[in-house]
Each structure stands twice: as structure tokens, then as C-alpha cells.
Subunit: 876 residues, 2 copies
């Protein structure tokens, strides 16, 4: 028979996958001599089999639980359902990684009518007995039976009203006995069953309920956000209850071994006397600072401090522990690596190195790269901020400071943003449709939605500041106004939002860029030695280039030339080019663009200061450059001197059924080689000029969407002919490389052919993912939720690389290319470039560099170092 | 130095790739002792290098030509530019395969003022001398200089008018001398140059002109249509002129060694006395039947017949030869395998077997599978057709002849068809909504759309004749008329359309039905033994199933359930399902569909008579089922009892940016498992019922667009649970298989995982090609022409499988699957299933069967047999 149940004395920390993080820790704490209430763990395997068999307990599990229970009874000299010495139990979830608050817990199991009576007799504490009992009924009804907890709380409130008291503490044993009676009746009314008096039945039911809670909605959402595979399952920890509310010499608390906000080496946390753990968490009573325990109960405090030290020495990291003392007996209930701010993370890692507890490598490994986000965003100038009063406050949903004109929908946001204006999108709530907007706006403000709302999740993903759940905000789409209480603003007015604090301000506030200094800088400099895979940035402006290099980028991995086209003067020329009906018209428009593009590249190359600049030729479908609403079309018709109807027809003709797979990328260059020649000319002339200024230049030109070798040859020959002639004419020593994006699966298949022509590859993982899965990124909102719900996908493949599909195509590309050229340069430009798990994969398959948005460069660098350390890499 | 030039005596038939078909034949004919005018071949390699170097003659070529010319002069005792014994030359293109009329030819090269004088003196035939000269000027101006030939023809007409004669033959030597003077002036006026008097310059220029003609527009189009790679290039044949217009004992002709229309073993062709070859082809004079030559000149006829026999014995196929006799000397100018009708192809192959010239295998190999198209569809009575002039011409999008009343929409088509009338649907463009119409009409005519447009694909699939892209067609829905230029017809008028030629006729033309009989049937039965890869059909109706089996299909490889939904009653239910806002509404709609679907499957399974029926679950994006124009939406709102605005909103919400990669395929089933359950129920209940009728049943259920193993597992478990319960309840011995389409590249990458769950795969090459290339089939029109023009693509990858990209993915799929399961079933359903080159590839990589539209089954079967023969396969 399979072993599903492990006594705490049987397990250890390394059994985390099987026993869950909490379970393995309980075992480990037992092993290192901490005082842990006795118990056992039901393994994650049991949970997975429970699901595999359609929510049925695997065979043999129940017998193993019964057997383990006997051992607990023997060890504790208590008895389940016993009248004199009842064994009460807590049952808690425990996944491989902590998912705080996401799953369910039941306390006081084993309590029933007889046990309550016995307990009253044994302790003389009737209140404890019946309070424990009523808590059990309430939690059991909620967790096991899925009843509405408010129905029970209402009864408690009624009772307090009858008794004319405000606090639970003012109720006595008799009151709770009465409440137990009421609860039992309510339970029966709602379930048509008596509340189970058999303690073993309670235990078995509660264990299954915890299994089920692995798949409740909030757990699924949490897993999705944190890239936790749903196949891991949860373990269940069954443990003797100890009562923080046993007596006045009892209490309970939650504490960190260091300060999780600042990292300071000083225990930090809260406790409550005469209370159970949930009282601390729920916030019903106001707890005391853990340091006060020193005066209130020095003996217990000493044991607490001793436990903290033992724990840190064992886990070599800041611990978050829950503890309880029952009648002056101190117990550690659980421990885990504590969540911390990014700032604290660096301080703690640094201190641990100084304390010689960990090595520099371990320090680098200790920082969660994703947490850097909060350190890397601009903040408001503190001086200016001091003079400002927020007009509203919401939830700090995505860090960073944003300033811009209020726009109430995507169309407006897009229009203004295309015109070079900064925009804050303000909505009652956001939907999938707003994802596009979030890429182009300075910030997002919503009236509803929490920290895990759609808006918040997406905004954090792309680094756009977001304040959500701003309760006083009212958006009036009809008259184009937004109000915050009495303050009424109009669409177009400027506001500032602080995604780190949740504050909203009227008008513009100056921003300060983040800087890399102190512990952050030190540890990042350590990281440098272990990173094999390089980090570049995606930047389309000289300002972004500068910022990227400051943040440690080794070059620019993607400069999207089309982003340069959206400026007002240029968009006119590009539109004229697209809508040209004769070759002459088109050439005229293209010639207008040439000097502008050339100026762009001069500035970009100067900013690069000799670091590589990878320039991608124009890529998007042409209709993206064209106006959509009637008024704009009429305006354009006048400026182009064309008939409105003809223009509408031309625009309509450019509409496509599936633009993502249509007339875009290098296909534009095949049809309009003039465009490719113009861009090449602009790049090469810029290179010649900057090189003359004695600034070194590394130009890498990149063709998007290549899928066929003859396409590559044809376009390369156009580029080469153009470039070589200009270089020869100028007698310049300028050199350049020509590479291709790898974005369509066919390019992967013919990589050995392409490698003959190309100097480098850059994987466009966004498009490659779209085509490999056949998922249109803009349309997946319709089915992706069902995919997560049914555990078909466990992460979003656009955020993290899909190793089996897209990753396999990448692997094959490299394999095929290796046969043709050694020392080939492989990059990735796409959102995945700064996803730590993806970076690790890219490192493994041998990519040369990743390229991500400037603000995420340090994240990618840290991820690269961590991957390097795991793979045993060290720079010489 | 590279050898570019080959004397006829140096080459042979096997050198076709280097010397072109015509050149190799001239060499071969010389080799087997036929009387061929002396000359040499400039190789295809020379042509390719000419292009590679940017239309420049490769180094050394000119010297080699001069040297070869000396040899010709020596052999013929004639001299280029000679006054007494001038050598005149023809220069002709000659690609690896024949591309009749697509490229250029220049005759009479070597003629100039002095040669003309000398020739007049030597032959006493002034007319011949100056007629030859004026012909040269005219052709040279056209081919080498690209001048408008009409300008020259106008001068000829003027001269005839002045002389008051009607026929060229009535002009004498003086007249032509005068014409030469006029032509030379005209030439100078148009080119600002004198007509070149240097014969060698004429030759060199003409050779280059022929090289260039490889890339003229009509040659490019022809190659694209015939899958001829543009990299092959053309050879150029330089040959002594012989004059069919030398004397009254001279003549020229074109003949087939058998009748190319019927296949009858009887020489067939035409000749003209005292004429040059082009006179026969151009149709200026009416030629005589070649058999008449027997009486007119028995000696020459005997030599002709002797040549025919020699040729057939050598080439073992019907030959098309050009011959000339000059003053009683007989010459064969060229020969090739003659083009023939499908009917003739079968008769000739059969006769050659009977004559023991070829084996049965060779007979099977001799038939071009694509040519069968014309045998498998009804055709117009050729006699009636002779008397008709088309009123318009479009693209031959789906072969066959259709006659009926013009209907401008489905409703009218349906009404008239229900009344027993035959209908031709005429529209500007078709949409998915017209699928239903296509089943009931005799033909479809559209103004827009190409050969691969939606209308064309569907029409071919169901064997409905279709002419698409008819540019002159204008549909005026408002007043119910259609116009073709000046011809205006009214809805209800009768037209005839020929989907094989693209012609549209006013009024009715009699039709002839196709049947598989006679030689066709015999050779197809021989083919059966050599075909390894099986052939199934794509069929959505019992009628199509029946037709498929009659045409030899081994089963149904694709039944698209959604096509069943377009019928009037069903579309209502499916719309109600899609637009349901509650689960109840949706289930109600789905339950309405169940009995209808079940009935469909009962009928399909009965028609299959135990042959496998592969049913694909619903696949297309839902908005394809929804109405588009306002009126229909209003109607729908009433029938669904919904608010028009709400409905519009719901419809708008289903709109997608890239529907091809959006909410479709098995994604529908993940979001709406009810739909999958309904379809499974309908299929299984139908199976149980038909099996009870003692008709054997082979059900293969197929999930579209699978890309992830957990997706497959999830949906398979829903299907299995549903199916097994029904089977158990009915105590039926029914069995079924569950497979998946392989349509997204990711499915190929994880084929080893999928194979664990799937019973079979069916490659959806349309979608797989779309995603592998990133080509939206509906949008490639914008760039594909440039791709063909620039020789980036040499064939349409939707028509013929792309071996390097899509094919490689397929190969890997099979490789990975083989590791998990042997004897796995692999199919292809898509247009490529009947493309002979694709079938050969599919055979090579080991697919089990291809599935194509019913009418193309024999094509696929023949292609399969030919592939089998080439691969040495033979059934035991």
C-alpha cells in the first residue's frame, strides 16, 4: 500500500514536495528540537490522487490516518473524543510553496457535546470549552459544508446584542454554551444533518475539505499569478491543538525574525494574550508588538527568542513563525521564509553575508527578481509631494508614479498616445480589452477591483503604475467627466497617480527616476559574476537607451523603428506612403521620412556609446498607421488631396481578417523595397556620421517575420547593396550585421538554411508563441479563463516561455544553426526576456542574451545570475 | 571556362535539365538519325547565371557562341551574313518542361540588306528573300526591342490596302522589298537606332531576349499554375532555318503521332504548303489536314510517317512534332510528348500497353492526375459550345459545367431550388453563410476572390462548378440585375458557367455527365495495386458520402459537423446557443440541436456502409454563425426575444482581432462542454442505432486544434464518459476511436505526449500551413504576387505541401509518435490531399491516408499509385 501519512518525526525539510512546505517545516522543526505540537502530514500525493480519482479519498488513506491518530494519542496522552483528556486537532493546508490565506483551515476538531462537558470539568474553563466548540461548528460549516459564515456570525452578533456587550471577550461560558446550541440548530437547518459528533468523521471530512480548497477560485488565481503549477497539490497537516486562549498565561502570535519591511535585524510581529491564532490574523482585536512580550512574560519571550535563533541558524533566512503559549508552555506552530519588501530583501541578504551565515552566491539567490519591480519604478519628487494633498486613495496595485491626461477609453488613449501625449486611463473597471491600452498609457486608475483584479495583474506584468479600487471615483462616460467626491475633472485634465502608495493627485507632479544604490547595488554587482546570459533592453528612443544603459543593459536588443513613425509629422508621411497610388507618390513620401529616420538613428547610436544597437525594420500591419474614425479620415483626405471615398476604400482594402498573419513584417519590404532601402539608408548614413564623431558604432539590422530562405536572401541583397554603396561612397570603415527575427515556426524549421545568410537571430517569443499555439494574444480572453479553471494551462505562455512547444522550437533552431555556424548570436526580445523562469530556460538552451524593457533589465540580470549560479557558471 | 554551349551532336535526351526539353530532344533526334536542321544549344545554366549577375551575359558565353557558329557554318556549307549561301537561324526558348507559347522566338536571324539581295539572286525568289527579311525585322522589334507589333502589322495592312489585295500571298517580292524599307524606317523612328545589319549582333541580342522572356508576366503565371520552379531557367536553341516557304515544293506543319483529343492511333495535325511554321500556328491561313500530304507529296509523307514511328519507338509516348520540308528535303524541327485531353491520355496509354510498347506501370505513370478533373465533372456539349461566345471570363475556380437561373441570394436560390428549378448563385463575394446555398445550386459565380477564395475552396470541396474573380461582373442587388460590361441580365435569367475554363455564357448549354468507364476504369483498376497510401473523402452529407464511395474512397476522412448547422432551422438553434446568457438558455438550444445532429449521423453512417467515418467536432469561430447586417440582427432579436441592442453588443463581443487564432476549435468545447457532450451523444446514439440495423459502423471522433496534452485529456474524458455511458445503457457492442487534428505547430512538438491519448491523427494542412508560415490564407493576396514575382515562393503552400517547414513538422510528429505507438493511423484532410506532389510527399513520410473532396478522389488515387510505383510499392 502506498504511504500517504507521515508522522512529524518521520519527515524532514527536504521532503517539501511530498509533505508541502508547512509540513516539511513542522517535521524539520521537530527534528531540530523545537517545541512543536505533535501531529502528522497527509502527503500532496494523496491530494493529487484524490483529484485524479474524481474527488475520492485514495484507497488506504483513511486507515493510515486512523493509525497515525493512535500514535498521536499515545504520545500526547490525550484521546480523540476523550471526556477527561480530549485530543483536539488543527487541520491545515500546506502546499509546496506558501500560498498564504488561499486555502482552508479547521481548528478545534475533536470537539463535541461530550468533550465540551469533559473539558469544562477538567479545566474549570467553561468559556474555553464552549468557545472552542462554537468556533469548530462555525469553521466546519464554512469549510466542510460551504455554508455562509455570515449566518453564524449574525447569531453571535444577536447574542452580544441581547447581552448588551460589544466584545466576544465579554461573553462568558454560559453564553457560549447557548451559542453552541443555536449554532447546532442553524447547522441542522442549513444542512438537514446533525453536526457530526464523531471526531474521526470530523477529521476525515476536514481533510477532504482542505484538498478541495486547493482548487477554490482564489487559490487558482493566486497560483496563476505566482506561476505555481496546479498539479503540485496540497498536503494536509494534522496537529494537536494548543490553546492560546487556555488561560491568562496563554497567548498566540505571528512574528518575523527580522523586520520584513526594512530588513532591520530585530524581531518584528504581534501577539495577543488569551487568544487563538485566527484572532491575530482577523484583526478583531488589536494585537501587541512582539517586543512587549519581553515585559509581559520574560520566560516565554526568552523561549521565543531562542526559537528564532534556532530557526534562522537552520534556515539561514528570515523566518516568519506562528507561535502559541498554553499555560506557559511555548510552542512553535509553523515557520516559513518570510515575505519581505524588495528593500528588506537586499538588507537581509547583505546582513546575513556580514553575519557569515550565507555566502555571496546565496545572497544573490535569495532575492526574488520579480520583487525588484518596486525598486525600479520612478517615484514622485518627495518635495513636490509634500505640498500636495491626494484627492483620492485606492489600492497600490502596481508600483510606480504616473502622470498624464485622463482618458476614458482605449480609443482616446490610443489617439492621444499616438500623438505623443501622456495618458492615464481612468475606468470603473477594466476588462481584457484594456490590455492593449495598458501598454501605451502612463498609468491606470480604476474605481473597482482589488490588488488581484485584472487591471492590477496586467499592469504589474508590464510595469504600468496602477491604482485600483479607488472607492470615491465615479466615471461618467456620457458627459466625459470623472469625480472624486466633490472634485470633478474632465477627460483631458491632468492627474498624477502613485501606484506604490495608492494616492491620486490633481495636476502634474515631477517624477524621479529610480536609482541603483546601497545594498541593491552591491548585491547586483555580485550578481554580475555569475551571469552567463547577457541582458539587453528594448528601446526606441535615445532617452530609453540612456536609461537602459544606466540600469545595466549591455546593449539594445530591439529598437522598433515603427514607434518612431507615430510622431505627428511622420505619421502624415507614413500615411501618404501607405495610401500612395503611384510609385512617384510613394517615393515622395518615403523621401520625406528619410531625414527624420536618419536623425533618430544618429541620436540612438550616440546614446549607445558603442554598445550594440539592434534595429528592426518596420513590422506592423499598415492599417495600424491609418486613422479609424470618419473625422480623422476626412482630415487626412484633405491633407493628401484625395477624395474621401477613395481614401475610405483604400483604408478598407488594407483591412485584414487575421492581421497578425497578414501583410506585415518583412512582407512589407518585399512588396515595397523602397521602404527597406530608405530605412537602410537612414541607418547606414547615421552610422557613418556617428563613427566620424569618433563614437564607436555597432549596428545590427534585423528583418522581422522571415520564414523562407529566399525571402532572406532577397531582402539581404537589397540591404547589402544599399549599405555597401553608401559606405564605399563615404569611404567609411563602418561595419554592420544583418540578422533575422525568429518568429514563425517555419523559421525554426529552416534555421540551418537561414544561418548561412544571417549574422544573428533574435527570437520574437510573442509572435512565436502566438503561432505555435495558434493563440491570438488579443483574443485569448474568451477561452483562457476556462483553460486555467480546468487546469489545462498552469501559466500564461506569453508571460513565461512554454518549454515543450515554443521552447522545443527554439532548441531545434539552435541545434540546426550549430551545424552551420558556431559562435552564433542568439537573442530574445519579448516580454519573456525578464521572466526569471524563462531566463533560466534561455540560459539552459544557450541563448546569448535576453532583451527586455529598460525597467526590467535588473530583474533579468538577477535572474540570469541566479540561473548561472544554479548551473555552476562563474565569470573568470 | 564553363561550358555553356552544346552542339546538337554533343547532347542527348538525359541532358534535359541542362539543355531544356526542346534542346535535349533536338540532340536526341540527331542521335537517333532523324533529319534535324543543324545547330546548338545555349544551356539553362547560362540563363541562370545571366539572371544571377543582374541580366548580364556570363563570361565566355559569347566566345562559345561564335565558335559553335563556325561549326554550323562548316557543317552546312553556309555562312552567317554570306551573300551567296547565307546561313539563317532560328532562336527558340526551351525550358526543362514545355511552356508552350509562354516565351519568345526569333526567326530568320542573319538576314540583312546584303543577304536579302544575295538570296534573291541565288534562289530567284525575291518574295522569299524580302518576306523573310520583313518577318525578321518585325519579330526582332517585338522580342528584342519590346516594340508594339501592331505598329508593324498596320504598315503591312496599309500596303495591302494600297495594293488592293487581301492576303499576304498576293503580295510580291517588290512589295515586300518596299515593306522592308518601311519597317526599317519605323524601326529607326521607334528605337532611334538603325536595324542591326551585323548578323552576330542579331544573334547575341536575340539569345538575351529569350533569356529575358523566361521572366515575362505570362511565363511567371504559367509557372505558378504548373508548379514550375523559377530557378530552372530556360535554354536557348540556335538552329539553321529551313524554309517551308522556299518554293512550291516546300511546306511546314505541326502534327501529333496520335489524335490528342481522342487518343486514336492515327497521325493528326496540319500543314501548309509554301509557308513558315508561324503561319500554321497563327491561323492567318487555313492549313490542311496532315493526311492530305499523302496525296500531295507521297515521298515527303512517307518520310514524315517514318519519323513519327522512329519518335514513338524512342519516346514511347505520343509525340507532337514540328516539321518543315524545303524543296523536297524533309526536316523534323522539334518534338515533345504531346499535350492531350484526359480521355486521350487513357486511350493512348491503353493502346501503348496493347502494342506492348509500355508496361501497365508505365501506363499508370503516364496519366497526369490533375487532368482527371475534367473527366470527373459534367462538361458542356462541345458542339453547342462551338456556337457560343462567352459574355465574360473569370477564374476557373471549381471545375464542371453549370446551367441555371441567376439568383442573387440564398433565399431566392433556396426557393427556386425547392420548386425544382436549377439555379446559379451570383454574388460579389461569398461568405460562410453561402455554404448552404452551394449545396443546392448548380454553380457559383463571383466578382471577387481568387482560386483559393472561400467560395472556391468550398465549391471544389462539394463539386459545385464555380467561376470566381469575374472582373467585369457587377451585381446590383437593389434593382436585381447583374451586368457584364454592356450585357445586363436580370435575376431569373438563365446563364451557363464553365468552372473548368472560367467562361460565362448567356442562356443554357447542354451538359454531358462524367462516368468512370472504359480505359479510364481499366487503368484506375491497375493503379489500385500500386497505391500504398489510402484515399478517403471529405463529406458532410449522405449524398457526398455516396458519391465518394462510388469514386473509390475508402472512407470519410473528414465530416465537418458545422456544415450541418447552416440549415435554416438549425442555424436558429445554434444562434440561440451562442447568444445564450444563462446556462439554461444554452442547454435548451443545445437540446434542440441534438435530434437533428443525431439524424444526420444516422444517415451518414448508413451511407458509409461500414467504411470509417471521421467526424470532427464543431470548429469555426462562433461569429461565423451570426448574422452580419442590421436587418438580420433585428429578425434574430425578435425570434430570440432579445433586445436588439443587447444582441448587437453580444455579437460585437464575439468579434476577434485574429479569429483564425482565436476562440474556435476545441477551445469551444473547453468553454462549452455541453456542446461536446451533445455532439458525442448524437454520434454515439446514431452509431448504436445503425449498428442495430446490422450495418457495420466505424466511428472516428476528432478534436480540432488540440495543442496541449491536458486539453486532449480533459476533452477525451468528457467524450469517453458520455459515450461509454450511452453504450453501456444500450448494451451495444459499438466501438469508437478518438483522435485529434494536428493543426497547430505545438501539437507537432508534443506529438509523443498526445499519442498516449489519441487513437489517430489527422493533419489539418490548411491551418498548419497558416501557422507555420504565419500566413493568413484570407490575407495573403496582398503580398503573395510579389513573392512569386521575386521568385521567393515557387508554389502556393496551401495548394502543395511545403516540405521544409510544414512537411518537417509532420515528419517530426510521426517520428515522435513512433516512439510511443507503432501502427498509428495518420491522415491528411485539406486541399493538399489531392495534390499529386503532396500525395507523393505524404506517401514518403508514411501517412496512412489522404482525404480530399469527393470529386478529387480518383486524382488522389492515381497520384497515390504513381507515388507507389516510384517507391517500388506493390500490393500483394
Amino acid at each position: 500500500m502506498k504511504k500517504y501519512v507521515y508522522m512529524f518525526s518521520e519527515g524532514k525539510a527536504s521532503m517539501r514536495n511530498l509533505l508541502g512546505g508547512k509540513g516539511a517545516n513542522l517535521c524539520e522543526m521537530t527534528r531540530i528540537g523545537l517545541s512543536v505540537p505533535y501531529g502528522f502530514v497527509v502527503s500532496t500525493q494523496a491530494c493529487n490522487e484524490y483529484y485524479a480519482q474524481g474527488k475520492v479519498m485514495p484507497e488506504g488513506l483513511e486507515q493510515q490516518i486512523v493509525k497515525a491518530m493512535k500514535k498521536v494519542e499515545a504520545k500526547t496522552h490525550k484521546k480523540l473524543g476523550g471526556y477527561r483528556n480530549p485530543l483536539l486537532l488543527s487541520i491545515r493546508s500546506g502546499a509546496r510553496v506558501s500560498m498564504p490565506g488561499m486555502m482552508d483551515t479547521v481548528l478545534n476538531l475533536g470537539m463535541n457535546d461530550s468533550v465540551a462537558q469533559g473539558m469544562e470539568k477538567a479545566t474549570g474553563n467553561k468559556r474555553l470549552a464552549y468557545d472552542s466548540y462554537r468556533r469548530l461548528i462555525q469553521m466546519y460549516a464554512d469549510v466542510v459544508k460551504g455554508l455562509d459564515i455570515h449566518d453564524f456570525e449574525d447569531e453571535l452578533s444577536k447574542l452580544k446584542a441581547t447581552k448588551q456587550v460589544k466584545d466576544d471577550l465579554d461573553l462568558n461560558g454560559d453564553d457560549f454554551e447557548q451559542l453552541v446550541g443555536t449554532y447546532k440548530k442553524l447547522y441542522k437547518k442549513l444542512t438537514k444533518e446533525e453536526f457530526p459528533q464523531n471526531p474521526m468523521e470530523q477529521v476525515i471530512q476536514a481533510i477532504q475539505a482542505v484538498f478541495r480548497s486547493w482548487n477554490n477560485e482564489r487559490a487558482i488565481v493566486y497560483r496563476r499569478m505566482n506561476d505555481i503549477p496546479s498539479v503540485w497539490g496540497t498536503a494536509v497537516n494534522v496537529q494537536m491543538m494548543v490553546f492560546g486562549n487556555y488561560s491568562e498565561n496563554s497567548g498566540t502570535g505571528v512574528a518575523f525574525t527580522r523586520n520584513p519591511a526594512t530588513g532591520e535585524k530585530k524581531v518584528y510581529g504581534e501577539y495577543l494574550m488569551n487568544a487563538q491564532g485566527e484572532d491575530v490574523v482577523s484583526g478583531v482585536r488589536t494585537p501587541k508588538q512582539v517586543l512587549e512580550l519581553k515585559e509581559q512574560n520574560p520566560e516565554i519571550f526568552a523561549k521565543f527568542m531562542e526559537s528564532c535563533e534556532k530557526l534562522e541558524n537552520r534556515y539561514l533566512d528570515m523566518q516568519e513563525l506562528e507561535f502559541t503559549f498554553e499555560d506557559n508552555h511555548f510552542y512553535v506552530l509553523q515557520t516559513r521564509n518570510g515575505k519581505r519588501t524588495a528593500q528588506a530583501a537586499f538588507k537581509i541578504a547583505m546582513d546575513l553575508v556580514k553575519e557569515k551565515k550565507i555566502t555571496k552566491k546565496q545572497a544573490v539567490l535569495m532575492i526574488d527578481p520579480k520583487s525588484l519591480d518596486s525598486l525600479l519604478h520612478p517615484t514622485f519628487d518627495p518635495k513636490e509631494l509634500q505640498e500636495k494633498q491626494p484627492i483620492a486613495t485606492g489600492l497600490p496595485a502596481s508600483p510606480g508614479a504616473g502622470v498624464g491626461h485622463i482618458a476614458l477609453n482605449y480609443a482616446t488613449a490610443k489617439k492621444w498616445s499616438d500623438e505623443g501625449e501622456k495618458v492615464i486611463l481612468v475606468k470603473n473597471e477594466t476588462s481584457t480589452e484594456d490590455v492593449e491600452s495598458m501598454h501605451i498609457v502612463e498609468g491606470v486608475l480604476t474605481a473597482t477591483g482589488g490588488m488581484t483584479s485584472h487591471a492590477a495583474v496586467v499592469a504589474r506584468g508590464i510595469g504600468t503604475p496602477c491604482v485600483s479600487g479607488c472607492n470615491t471615483l465615479l466615471v461618467n462616460t456620457l458627459d466625459g467627466t470623472v469625480s472624486f467626491g466633490d472634485v470633478v475633472l474632465t477627460e483631458g485634465d491632468t492627474i498624477s497617480i502613485d501606484g506604490t502608495t495608492g494616492c491620486v493627485y490633481k495636476g502634474a507632479i515631477g517624477k524621479k527616476d529610480a536609482e541603483i544604490a546601497g545594498d541593491f547595488a552591491t548585491i547586483m554587482s555580485w550578481a554580475e559574476r555569475y551571469a552567463r546570459i547577457g541582458v539587453r533592453a528594448n528601446a526606441d528612443t535615445p532617452k530609453d537607451v540612456k536609461r537602459s544603459l544606466e540600469l545595466g543593459a549591455e546593449g539594445i536588443g530591439l529598437c522598433r523603428t515603427e514607434h518612431m513613425f507615430f510622431e505627428e509629422k511622420r505619421i502624415e508621411a507614413i500615411r501618404a506612403m501607405i495610401l500612395a497610388t503611384t510609385k512617384e507618390e510613394r517615393e515622395k513620401a518615403i523621401n520625406q521620412l528619410l531625414p527624420m529616420q536618419q536623425k533618430d538613428f544618429v541620436e540612438m547610436l550616440r546614446a549607445c556609446q558603442g554598445k550594440p544597437l539592434t534595429i528592426r525594420f518596420i513590422d506592423p500591419p499598415l492599417h495600424e498607421f491609418l486613422p479609424k474614425d470618419q473625422k480623422d479620415i476626412e482630415k487626412l483626405a484633405i491633407s493628401l488631396g484625395k477624395d474621401v471615398k477613395d481614401l475610405q476604400k483604400s483604408i478598407a482594402e488594407l483591412k485584414e481578417f487575421n492581421p497578425m498573419m497578414g501583410y506585415r513584417g518583412c512582407r512589407l519590404a518585399v512588396v515595397m523595397p523602397e521602404l527597406l532601402i530608405m530605412q537602410t539608408t537612414a541607418i547606414i548614413k547615421a552610422g557613418i556620421k556617428v563613427l566620424k564623431e569618433e563614437i564607436p558604432v555597432q549596428i545590427e539590422m534585423m528583418l522581422p517575420l522571415i520564414g523562407e530562405i529566399r525571402e532572406m536572401r532577397y531582402l539581404k541583397s537589397i540591404i547589402k547593396t544599399t549599405a555597401d554603396q553608401l559606405i564605399e561612397e563615404a569611404k567609411s570603415p563602418l561595419q554592420y550585421a544583418i540578422g533575422t527575427m525568429i518568429e514563425v515556426p517555419r523559421a525554426c524549421m529552416i534555421a540551418d538554411q537561414l544561418a548561412v545568410e544571417a549574422d544573428f537571430y533574435s527570437f520574437g517569443t510573442n509572435d512565436l508563441t502566438q503561432m505555435t499555439y495558434g493563440y491570438s494574444r488579443d483574443d485569448i480572453g474568451k477561452f483562457l479563463p476556462s483553460y486555467f479553471e480546468n487546469r489545462i494551462l498552469s501559466f500564461d505562455p506569453f508571460v513565461r516561455v512554454d518549454e515543450f512547444g515554443v521552447g522545443e522550437l527554439m532548441r531545434q533552431t539552435i541545434q540546426k544553426t550549430n551545424k552551420v555556424k558556431k559562435h552564433f548570436k542568439y537573442g530574445v526580445c519579448g516580454e519573456q526576456g525578464a521572466d526569471p523562469k524563462s531566463v533560466e530556460f534561455f540560459d539552459k538552451i544557450g541563448l546569448t542574451y535576453v532583451s527586455c524593457s529598460p525597467y526590467r533589465v535588473p530583474i533579468a540580470k538577477l535572474a540570469s545570475a541566479q540561473s548561472g549560479i544554479k548551473r555552476g557558471y562563474q565569470k573568470r
